[in-house]
Symmetry: C2
Subunit: 253 residues, 2 copies
């Protein structure tokens, strides 16, 4: 068996999420079906992050085990040909060591949450941003965000459906920046809880609007109660932008 590491871009709009499911198309199933069509086998594709319905990725990472050895560029070309016209593109494939696991080897996940902050709705970016018409003080959001950085109990920012054993996570970076009408919230951590980034974005938006104080975020965190924080921001503003791994030793194969 040969293990390949794939880097994948997708528009999450038409999908029920990364993970294969019965009632909606998924990015995982789209990839598995593309393999089935040209490789004569239908391998399991394991992703680094199980993005929700409507969430996008610039660089999701997955691994797959194949019976046959492929030239990486041919694997990419064949996958993309068979993924068409679905909005999923494989950017890169490389042979990975047996020890590489897209999900368990990951040391960092990076997300960006995008808010279009202007009166007029989004025309070009409607499925790619959260439209917030009221003016947001992005500098207040940035200041408030810093209270969440570090190792914390994120119960207040975790979906009630989250299945992680522990609510403790280490948020390595949370940065809010504005460029014109667009506010980007950058977040990085080894792993995230379910809805963590979207619940943080929904909470920071309340601070940006002035409906909550900058210090309120610390109180919401300390409460360890989901109802203490803000609402969940919509999926379409969220992008998985990268996954980090330890440097792999050169493959023997």
């Amino acid at each position: 068996m040969y293990r390949y590491r794939l880097t994948i871009e997708y528009d999450g709009t038409p999908f029920g999420g990364w993970q294969r499911q019965n009632n909606a198309p998924s990015i995982q199933a789209a990839l598995e079906e593309a393999f089935a069509r040209f490789a004569g086998e239908r391998p399991l594709v394991v992703g680094a992050g199980r993005t929700d319905a409507g969430v996008h990725a610039l660089a999701q990472v997955a691994h797959v085990d194949l019976q046959r050895r492929w030239r990486p560029d041919r694997l990419v070309a064949a996958l993309n040909a068979h993924l068409r016209p679905q909005p999923v593109a494989v950017l890169e494939a490389r042979l990975a060591g047996e020890g590489f696991h897209a999900r368990f080897s990951a040391r960092e996940r990076r997300y960006v949450y995008r808010i279009l902050n202007r009166r007029a709705p989004a025309a070009l970016e409607a499925a790619r941003v959260w439209h917030v018409p009221a003016p947001l003080a992005s500098e207040h959001m940035q200041e408030a965000a810093q209270a969440l950085v570090g190792r914390n109990d994120f119960t207040s920012f975790r979906s009630s459906e989250c299945q992680a054993a522990s609510p403790l996570r280490t948020l390595d970076l949370l940065h809010v920046r504005r460029a014109g009408d667009l506010i980007e919230i950058h977040a990085a951590a080894r792993s995230f809880l379910h809805h963590q980034v979207r619940n943080i974005a929904g909470s920071l938006k309340l601070v940006g609007e002035g409906r909550r104080s900058i210090g309120w975020i610390s109180e919401a965190l300390a409460a360890r109660d989901r109802s203490a924080a803000g609402p969940t921001a919509p999926a379409q503003g969220l992008f998985l932008v990268g996954v980090g791994y330890p440097v792999e030793p050169l493959s023997a194969s």
Copy 2:
């Protein structure tokens, strides 16, 4: 009558172009119908540039004459409410002098043509870029482009269906820049011929691929023959990004 100047963003994908037409939806008709629904009149909306099917705009400008005087922010809100769910957003409305004409007063139109230059197809930006898999030497494209700047007979870069009286145009700026996988061609002129930017983009792509020399662009221009230049680049990579007007005297009203 009160004349308003509108700034409009749109995703050109679902439209047959800016201009009202019998067999396809248009941005112009979408705006006129939105007015009809809330203003009780159906005014003519005159745009600065009649973008083709599939071409996008970040800041198209149009004017419209209304019987009633509106607060500009209310006009914007009412238009956007009645444009929904079409991907057209009015960013701004302002009262304009009677002498203002969106098309004839314009002194500059600015376009950007976007090429995604990587092997993998576009997933997130499929309807917003021209995907060119072969590596393009953007610095060669930039050098070649400079031969087109200035007052020239652009017959070689003009659609056979172009209805302009003269093929002479003054191209004020043509700049090619790369950021990662994205190549942007910026063009500015008082006015453009039909398909001029797309024909220039299609020609510069041949230079970038090395299928034509840098000097070939000058020969293609001098030939004054459409068949001497490259093919028309697809519509979905083109964005009308701005329209410039002389500074208006303050309105008396």
